[in-house]
């Protein structure tokens, strides 16, 4: 399956990926409305990490034997053994943060307002993930998971 790859050398820390992610997963899907009326629930599923001048975004890697799916005690997170897809059902999530505890990528975001976790869903409903589409510098691309290169 394809996941999102960061081309770190072109990540410029604008963090529009985070903003676009929040808007894409808001109920209004309108940036101003989302930030005005839904601020409490806005949770970016992608995090731009920074170390000195270097930055790059990290989001769910759809790991083999995804530890979040192993750890999830409610069955909210499940992994399709055939495709590797890791799904998160917020309706089943109770916010126990077990997945936060085990995700080695730090890619499980806490939606504190809704007391659930959220994770990258590759914007399955859109043509391409909002972060990829909105990256102004081509620093986010879709790549086969097995061919993802280091950031």
């Amino acid at each position: 399956m394809k996941i999102i790859q960061a081309i770190a050398q072109y990540c410029m820390n604008c963090r529009l990926c985070e903003i676009n992610c929040m808007v894409a997963h808001s109920s209004s899907r309108d940036i101003i409305t989302a930030f005005r009326a839904e601020r409490e629930r806005l949770t970016s599923r992608v995090t731009v990490e920074q170390s000195g001048p270097r930055t790059f975004p990290v989001q769910c890697r759809f790991c083999q034997d995804a530890p979040c799916a192993v750890a999830c005690m409610t069955g909210a997170i499940t992994q399709d053994p055939a495709t590797g897809w890791v799904a998160h059902d917020p309706d089943k999530c109770v916010g126990c943060w077990m997945c936060v505890m085990v995700c080695p990528n730090g890619a499980m975001a806490r939606d504190v307002g809704g007391h659930v976790t959220s994770k990258c869903d590759l914007c399955a409903a859109l043509d391409q993930p909002a972060c990829v589409a909105g990256c102004p510098n081509g620093a986010l691309v879709l790549a086969e998971r097995d061919e993802v290169e280091n950031a």
Partner: protein, 504 residues
């Protein structure tokens, strides 16, 4: 010390109804104009730091930002413009030289805009480049007067061997911009685009980063007065070598790369210490007259075993025609003339705005002079200095240029917004900076594609204009001043340009 008298030039206007305090502007402004105030959950601007680069406005996801040029409006005085007054304040504040970057920023005449192109009507059909071949291929280098054929064999064969030529898919190259003045990704964008387009980029005087040696066949390397990064391998890597005598933006003075822009990589490429200012002397210290230039030209020809053309680049100055003639006679295969509006990463503003002559006249004078001396074919003439669009290029070709160099236009394609602060090293577009936080902003894949797009667009326009003139090969446009007419110029200017007035 009393407060500075210089006033802000820009106003940062933030639409409160649209700002979501996402902080993109805060993170993107290297001049620290924007700052987030968590206690009020709002972003504010320190407009006095704004250089008008528009980076924040471009990236603001809600379009909440407008950067408005609001120079101080002193009482209107015809002679004492606001800029003149502000410049006095600046120097009284700082005691320094007024620095400028990019090209001349004064509202001086643009002669290209006084020239108009011809098109066919009735007596001659225009050619549709979408249907007919339209050739822009250009060869730069020394040409003999004639081709000699060996007639003794069963069929005539070539007895003439051409001097080394640069083959360009179109008569447009990227002008010299050094690694150091511009960033690694900017250099890479230019090199990648040049290779993809079948034209050439120019290393400038900053040496060639090892990563770019692969692009050698698409590069001209410079030998300038500082000799930065010049090694036999450097000369060997490139398609051609250019001796830089002068630059249109700052004729008569050397180069100055501030130490802030000399990071580890730049230092290794230039072979100078990290953090040291890279100072190119005003003259080459081994060239004090034309015969010395000849020696350097031939030294370089020896070094490249006569396999590559040697170009000499000069600034367009008053007696440029005679100088160009001397350069051709000294053995240069290409003469590059950089006009008064040429760009730079840093130059004293007084020099930039007041020294030299416009490329239009310099080019016309050089082409005429070389032809009148019967040596026009001995060297190709490359014009540079402020080409803004394909029509400028077509006019330059018609005036007599074999090709043009574009610099500023290329940088604008890469995102440059002409804030003219290159010398600060804080280019928010990742172009004229070595700050690793800023250079990341230019993805060379995108940059190269944008350059490719720009020149593809220009090439298409040039073909359309040529087709209109009934010309299907660029050599028939080159020096063909019959397709130019001028308006609003004096007889004397017309005479120098060698063209007729509109209606003639």
């Amino acid at each position: 010390m009393a407060p500075r008298l210089v006033q802000p030039e820009f106003s940062v206007q933030r639409d409160g109804e649209r700002c979501i305090a996402c902080g993109v502007c805060v993170r993107q402004c290297a001049n620290q104009v924007h700052s987030y105030h968590p206690e009020y959950e709002e972003v504010r601007a320190a407009a006095e730091r704004c250089v008008g680069c528009h980076r924040c406005a471009w990236l603001c996801p809600t379009g909440a930002l407008s950067i408005i040029h609001t120079p101080p409006t002193y009482r209107h005085g015809g002679h004492w413009s606001s800029e003149a007054i502000s410049n006095v304040y600046k120097q009284a504040d700082s005691g320094g030289v007024l620095l400028g970057a990019m090209g001349n920023s004064q509202p001086v005449p643009v002669y290209w805009d006084h020239l108009l192109l011809n098109a066919s009507q009735v007596t001659n059909p225009s050619i549709d480049p979408l249907r007919e071949p339209m050739e822009l291929k250009t060869f730069l280098g020394r040409k003999p007067d004639q081709v000699e054929l060996e007639m003794s064999g069963p069929e005539p064969s070539l007895a003439t061997t051409l001097a080394p030529q640069l083959e360009l898919s179109m008569p447009i190259m990227f002008s010299a911009m050094s690694y150091g003045a511009i960033s690694y990704p900017a250099c890479k964008s230019l090199a990648m685009a040049a290779r993809e387009l079948g034209t050439l980029a120019n290393s400038g005087e900053g040496g060639l980063h090892p990563d770019f040696w692969d692009f050698g066949p698409s590069m001209i390397v410079q030998v300038a007065s500082g000799r930065f990064g010049v090694t036999p391998d450097y000369l060997g890597a490139a398609a051609a070598v250019e001796i830089k005598i002068g630059q249109g933006a700052k004729p008569g003075i050397g180069g100055h790369l501030p130490g802030e822009k000399v990071d580890d990589s730049v230092s290794r490429t230039r072979m100078i210490p990290v953090g040291s200012d890279a100072l190119s002397p005003a003259p080459h210290h081994d060239i004090y007259s034309i015969e010395d230039l000849r020696q350097l030209i031939y030294s370089l020809k020896e070094a490249v075993r006569y396999r590559k053309p040697i170009s000499v680049k000069i600034a367009a100055v008053h007696n440029v025609a005679a100088i160009a003639s001397g350069i051709v006679r000294a053995g240069a295969d290409i003469v590059a003339i950089d006009g008064y509006k040429g760009g730079t990463g840093a130059a004293p503003a007084m020099i930039r705005d007041n020294v030299g002559i416009p490329i239009e006249f310099a080019l016309a004078a050089v082409d005429d002079r070389l032809r009148s001396e019967g040596i026009r074919n001995l060297a190709s003439v490359v014009a540079c200095g402020g080409f803004r669009c394909s029509a400028d290029v077509v006019k330059a070709l018609a005036l007599g240029a074999d090709a043009v160099y574009i610099g500023t236009a290329a940088l604008i394609a890469l995102g440059c917004h002409m804030c003219q602060q290159c010398f600060t090293g804080k280019c928010n577009w990742g172009i004229a900076t070595q700050d690793p936080y800023l250079t990341r902003r230019l993805n060379p894949e995108i940059g190269a594609q944008r350059l490719y797009n720009l020149l593809s667009g220009w090439a298409h326009e040039i073909k359309e204009m040529m087709g209109g003139m009934g010309i299907n090969a660029v050599e028939s446009l080159r020096g063909n001043r019959h397709h130019l007419r001028a308006w609003g110029l004096s007889d004397r200017e017309l005479k120098i340009l060698g063209i007729s007035a509109v209606g003639e």
